[in-house]
């Protein structure tokens, strides 16, 4: 089994009465709640945590894309990927989102991903989500009636741009480019492609058709997720795909402490911050007309966020033990977490676990502790679960000895507070 350390990068300073005073954490969230000076530390702490996770042996470092969102401070995951490409050595860069239909021309995404793959020596996992209705339709103004058409066309264009060695013309319905000729190109041809999805039936067929990894990014935990993943595996079987757990990933909130009681004491308030503030989403932004297809509506699959906003309303009202029992969060001592983890792996049959070890307003130090506890006491026990399967959805980087090594950074001495800073060229 593979473990990816993933951070949504939430804004940790939402006020206690956020849910009462504000209608949504997303799209029209009050920008006065953001403080760019505080963000200096927030971003750097979050990037430190991602780098720290590599030191502990996590297989991948996960980042994604959200817009006008106080629980996801990454409008551009490429920027995060770029810094990780330079500051890390071994871990996969799990870029779980460039919503293709947001970029015109979408070859921009192909270019940036190629750059990251080159800089990192072939460590990129390229995620292509359709994107949420909040991001695509409401924050970025993409028409929901044509979003999926655009997404599919952009996907075909990116794939061809990566692979066709010749200049070609693209005369599509949504994109027209007389000269497509990608410079640079990715080391991996192509990088592994993961499709983050909430639960639309077309996405499953798309993954089967292209042999892509399906990543179910839910915040409602593995018990609710089991039903959906069962649908996914059944569909894959119907379409004649050979079962391989590495073709699926699942995101789960996890926290580890010495004892179960200690876990509650340390983490409960941060979980509550996440469920009651970060997922406080105005239902009017959850599902623009046309965002879900008729088949998905009829299959009774609610959109990720409509489902979640109702699920989350429930989660926020649960006791700590109920949150654990219902699977919203995996928490406790290493033994308890191992036991829950085995259930996750076996019921969902997933080979890639996207570990949400940071959630809500969890402070840096506490998150490092939980991240380390999980790496030292849980990962080794759960890792062998799918040993008999080959993972075709992880990067195949250049041999380590051939990869460039970025220049070592020596930090300049910081002058003591109050002393004048030395300026180059000054006397």
């Amino acid at each position: 089994m593979k473990f990816h350390w993933f951070n949504l990068m939430p804004w940790p300073y939402l006020p206690d009465d956020f849910a009462e005073k504000h209608r949504s954490v997303w799209v029209d969230v009050d920008s006065r709640l953001f403080d760019p000076v505080k963000a200096n530390r927030v971003y750097n702490d979050y990037l430190d945590l991602l780098e720290f996770a590599e030191d502990l042996g996590y297989d991948g470092l996960g980042i994604n894309e959200h817009h006008q969102n106080a629980y996801g401070l990454m409008p551009s995951p490429q920027l995060m990927a770029a810094t990780l490409a330079r500051r890390t050595r071994e871990a996969s860069i799990l870029l779980l989102g460039q919503s293709l239909a947001l970029y015109d021309p979408p070859t921009r995404v192909a270019e940036e991903m190629a750059m990251i793959d080159c800089i990192s020596g072939g460590r990129l996992i390229s995620g292509f989500p359709v994107g949420s209705s909040m991001d695509d339709n409401y924050a970025c103004g993409v028409n929901p009636a044509t979003l999926r058409e655009k997404y599919l066309e952009a996907h075909d264009l990116v794939r061809r741009a990566w692979s066709d060695p010749d200049v070609f013309a693209w005369n599509g319905k949504h994109y027209k480019l007389r000269y497509v000729n990608l410079w640079p190109r990715p080391i991996q041809n192509p990088p592994p492609i993961w499709i983050p999805g909430g639960g639309s039936v077309e996405t499953w067929d798309f993954c089967a058709q292209h042999h892509y990894n399906y990543s179910y990014l839910s915040f409602s935990g593995y018990i609710r997720g089991a039903q959906l993943m069962e649908g996914f595996w059944r569909r894959m079987e119907e379409l004649g795909c050979e079962f391989n757990p590495y073709q699926a990933a699942f995101a789960q909130q996890i926290c580890v402490a010495e004892t179960d009681a200690e876990a509650q004491r340390l983490y409960e308030k941060h979980a509550r911050y996440f469920f009651s503030r970060c997922l406080h989403i105005h239902p009017g932004y959850a599902d623009a007309p046309g965002y879900r297809t008729e088949a998905t509506i009829r299959a009774g699959l609610v959109t990720q966020m409509a489902g979640q906003s109702s699920a989350m309303n429930q989660a926020a009202a649960l006791s700590w033990q109920e949150m654990i029992d219902k699977g919203y969060i995996i928490a406790g001592s290493p033994d308890s977490v191992c036991e829950q983890m085995e259930r996750v792996a076996k019921t969902l049959k997933i080979g890639h676990l996207v570990c949400l070890l940071h959630f809500g307003d969890m402070p840096n130090e506490l998150c490092r502790y939980s991240t380390e506890m999980f790496a030292k006491h849980v990962m080794p026990k759960v890792r062998p679960i799918w040993n008999e399967y080959e993972d075709h959805w992880s990067p195949k980087p250049m041999p380590r000895e051939d990869r460039a090594v970025p220049r070592a950074v020596t930090m300049p001495e910081v002058p003591p507070v109050g002393a004048p800073a030395r300026i180059a060229g000054a006397r």
Binding site: N143, P144, P283, G284, Y285, A288, R292, A306
Partner: protein, 260 residues
């Protein structure tokens, strides 16, 4: 009213339409929620007119035609001409509501000879920065059109109206999807530049309880169309002909009758 099917235009596309009555032809262009066949206002108007109410491409039984139609004014206007041609109607009174009023205005501006007189009820297509109105799309996905009615409960009684809940809900979402294709993310269709081309005698109607197209839009449309008059339906919401069928039919008939 029975739904009828014909073929229209050079591509022979299927057109589903309601038709009843006799007299001068009256082309009725529906609002964002389409048609359901039991519109009392159309039944009343059919006592005086040959009422023709087609489903626009993308709505109701024509849902699968949406990808083929361009969201600008040209395709939809050519389509309306194809419908009139297929029925052998040279010109008609054209009554449009909501998004249908935008389509009616485009037809009157681009093909003036085909429009005898024009009624625009709660028209979408202009954008007033200071009076945007409620977003017709950013609504709860469980009851997405509730905002369009003067009273929330009217969605159940007038739109769902005893039909299978899943079917009615799916149709509601797909009709809004079709509307979004033309109006996303801001219902400014550019029709403003063409309104001065309209030659037909025109009535603009706004509704007193319309939260999607606030009353401030009435004067904006009226001033942009030569000689247009403005009236209001004080008790109606955005989908006036479902909510106030008699008042709607009386207003339209009163205007069209005086045109003779």
């Amino acid at each position: 009213m029975q739904t009828q099917i014909m073929r229209a235009g050079p591509q022979n596309i299927e057109v589903h339409y309601l038709r009843a009555g006799s007299g001068d032809p009256l082309l009725f262009l529906h609002h964002m929620l389409g048609l359901h066949g039991a519109e009392a206002a159309l039944a009343e108007l059919s006592r005086h007119y040959d009422v023709i109410a087609p489903y626009a491409p993308g709505w109701g039984p024509a849902k699968d035609q949406l990808p083929e139609i361009d969201p600008g004014p040209l395709d939809i206007t050519l389509h309306q001409c194809d419908v009139l041609d297929a029925l052998g109607v040279d010109s008609a009174h054209v009554v449009g509501t909501s998004i249908g009023a935008w389509m009616a205005a485009e037809l009157a501006a681009i093909q003036p000879a085909r429009v005898r007189s024009l009624v625009l009820v709660n028209p979408l297509g202009l954008w007033l920065e200071d009076t945007p109105g409620e977003d017709p799309f950013a609504q709860h996905p469980g009851y997405p059109s509730r905002m369009q009615f003067a009273e929330k409960s009217m969605r159940e009684t007038l739109l769902i109206n005893g039909r299978d809940k899943m079917d009615a809900h799916v149709e509601e979402l797909l009709n809004l999807r079709a509307s979004a294709k033309f109006l996303w993310p801001i219902p400014d269709t550019g029709v403003k530049r063409r309104l001065s081309r309209i030659r037909a005698r025109t009535l603009v109607v706004t509704s007193g309880k319309d939260r999607i197209v606030p009353a401030a839009y009435g004067p904006a449309w009226q001033q942009a169309i030569n000689g247009a008059t403005l009236q209001t339906l004080p008790e109606a919401g955005h989908v006036a002909e479902l909510e106030q069928p008699s008042a709607f039919a009386d207003l339209v008939h009163g205007f069209l009758r005086a045109a003779h």
